[in-house]
């Protein structure tokens, strides 16, 4: 967490229990997902979540390069998370930094869990997550979009992964931190969750939490994931039931 003390006179939660952007503690930012946003990729999804804009593309299953990484018994799910240089206030140097490599790794692991990798031995399933505009919560946004893109690519999956973070601001456990909350907050708990099986496939935490607060936050994130899961399914349904050619506006929670 930023750990920076909040500038004087600013409170992250006001006397009415409302947050800077007017949300309640357990309220998500608006979320819209569009499945199949790209032509070239085998599957794709475009997501707007609060002020985040994220594109996910899936290519594969295809021959795995380099060869020595091939697994003779299953497909390799390789996620490449990237932030566009202009997605943040201070321009980010192009290319993978340590943070994005860590996120790529844990996202790959979370997605591997839901893909029937054993159906496609020796192949690679490549997932590209491009953060075009970043505003806290991009790893959850990326994982959520990537799940939809995998399904859009027709890749056999156990289930979708939904992802959302809980956090702590002003000593209160809240859902889905915004940018200021992330900068000046006390803790962040990104969670990747599979509703059908009640399983956690991504989990990180940083900040300062009592064990009880953690438990509260974890549950809050799980409940939110269930809602996000519905938005994901809606996006896929909309794509596959719309008359061909009709524009897809993207649906969501508001």
């Amino acid at each position: 967490m930023g750990g920076t003390p909040l500038p004087d006179g600013i409170k992250l939660i006001d006397e009415n229990g409302k947050r800077l952007d007017g949300r309640r503690p357990d309220e998500l930012r608006p979320l819209k997902i569009e499945a199949g946003a790209l032509k070239r990729a085998n599957g794709s999804a475009y997501l707007e979540w609060g002020n985040n804009k994220v594109m996910a593309a899936v290519y594969g299953p295809r021959e795995c390069h380099p060869r020595h990484m091939q697994d003779p018994t299953k497909a390799l799910v390789q996620c490449h998370y990237n932030m566009a240089s202009f997605s943040v206030d201070d321009r980010k140097r192009p290319g993978p930094d340590r943070r994005s490599q860590e996120i790529s790794k844990i996202t790959s692991e979370a997605l591997t869990h839901v893909v029937f990798t054993e159906y496609f031995p020796k192949t690679s399933i490549d997932v590209y997550i491009e953060v075009l505009q970043a505003n806290a919560g991009t790893r959850c946004a990326g994982l959520t979009a990537a799940s939809v893109a995998l399904a859009d690519a027709g890749i056999p999956m156990r289930d979708l992964v939904a992802s959302c973070a809980a956090g702590k601001i002003d000593d209160t456990v809240v859902l889905d931190l915004g940018k200021e909350e992330d900068n000046f907050g006390q803790a962040d708990i990104p969670v990747g969750y599979i509703p059908r099986d009640d399983e956690i496939v991504l989990l990180q935490m940083d900040g300062d939490l009592t064990a009880d607060q953690f438990k509260t936050g974890l549950n809050m994130a799980i409940e939110a994931c269930k809602k996000i899961y519905d938005v994901q399914r809606d996006a896929l349904k909309r794509k596959y039931t719309l008359p061909a050619g009709k524009t897809d506006e993207g649906g969501g929670v508001n």
Binding site: R40, A57, Y59, A84, S85, D89, R91, Y128, N135
Partner: protein
């Protein structure tokens, strides 16, 4: 091998149509694809645009940071153009540092902005020899169906036109609009089996023998040019592409 066979079949198909005066997507030889421009697409950038040129989808973000001028231009801002051709956008792109293709795209777009004097770089000087604005133009391919040169140039110009110099954030006075003086527009044509086609799709690009990008300004003057591919142009073909580019460029300029 399989790839070569497919390419040959594609080439046969495309050239057979061309000999009848037709392109695979029904366009005329001198007709660019439909263009949509969405300005201010990215809030975190100082200026941005998303451009669809047919099925090619490009996002450009412009960022401005305070930095030092070059020694030989002490009273001018600095322009840096970068193109990201990542596997998100196409199977044809690979991970890793910029390859020759993305360097060429970036440098041709850069040359258009720079030589076309798109931005009044002297107005990006804060204190001569000490501090100037460094302007980063980052071109991200999102979906690639050919002709990133033009899609990127259009998106870059649209992004520059709506960009604001973030002087306040940097404690350098009040924000002001980026001083855009000219709007150089590039138009790219390819040569396939002796035919000259503007704004090639990906399929046309891979069967093309040669490519020529011509960037011109409002007056119809030329500011940048780049030939690519292992084929050749006759001098007359070059002059024909120059004329096409000036004409089509004017049309595109009116749309951004």
């Amino acid at each position: 091998m399989a790839k070569n066979v497919m390419a040959d079949l594609k080439r046969d198909h495309i050239t057979k149509l061309l000999s009848k005066g037709m392109r695979i997507d029904g366009r005329k030889f001198d007709e660019p694809r439909p263009l949509t421009v969405e300005k201010d697409f990215v809030q975190s950038a100082e200026g941005s645009a998303r451009v669809h040129l047919g099925d090619t989808d490009v996002v450009v973000g412009v960022k401005l940071m305070v930095g030092q001028p070059f020694g030989d231009t002490p009273n001018k801002g600095v322009l840096t153009t970068n193109a990201e051709l990542k596997p998100l956008a196409s199977e044809a792109f690979e991970s890793g540092p910029p390859d020759q293709r993305s360097i060429e795209v970036a440098r041709v777009i850069d040359r258009g902005i720079r030589e076309g004097k798109a931005v009044d770089m002297e107005k990006l000087c804060i204190e001569p020899e000490k501090e100037v604005w460094i302007m980063f133009v980052d071109v991200h391919a999102i979906d690639y169906d050919g002709n990133l040169f033009d899609a990127g140039n259009i998106a870059a110009m649209a992004a520059l036109k709506c960009a604001v110099v973030p002087a306040k954030r940097a404690k350098k006075g009040e924000d002001y609009p980026l001083p855009v003086s000219h709007v150089p527009i590039s138009v790219t044509a390819v040569k396939i089996d002796g035919h000259i086609l503007v704004d090639p799709t990906y399929d046309e690009e891979i069967v093309a023998e040669a490519r020529l990008t011509v960037t011109s300004n409002e007056k119809g003057d030329l500011c940048a040019m780049q030939k690519g591919g292992s084929g050749s142009f006759t001098p007359d073909e070059v002059l024909k592409v120059v004329e096409l580019s000036r004409k089509i460029g004017a049309d595109i300029r009116s749309k951004i």
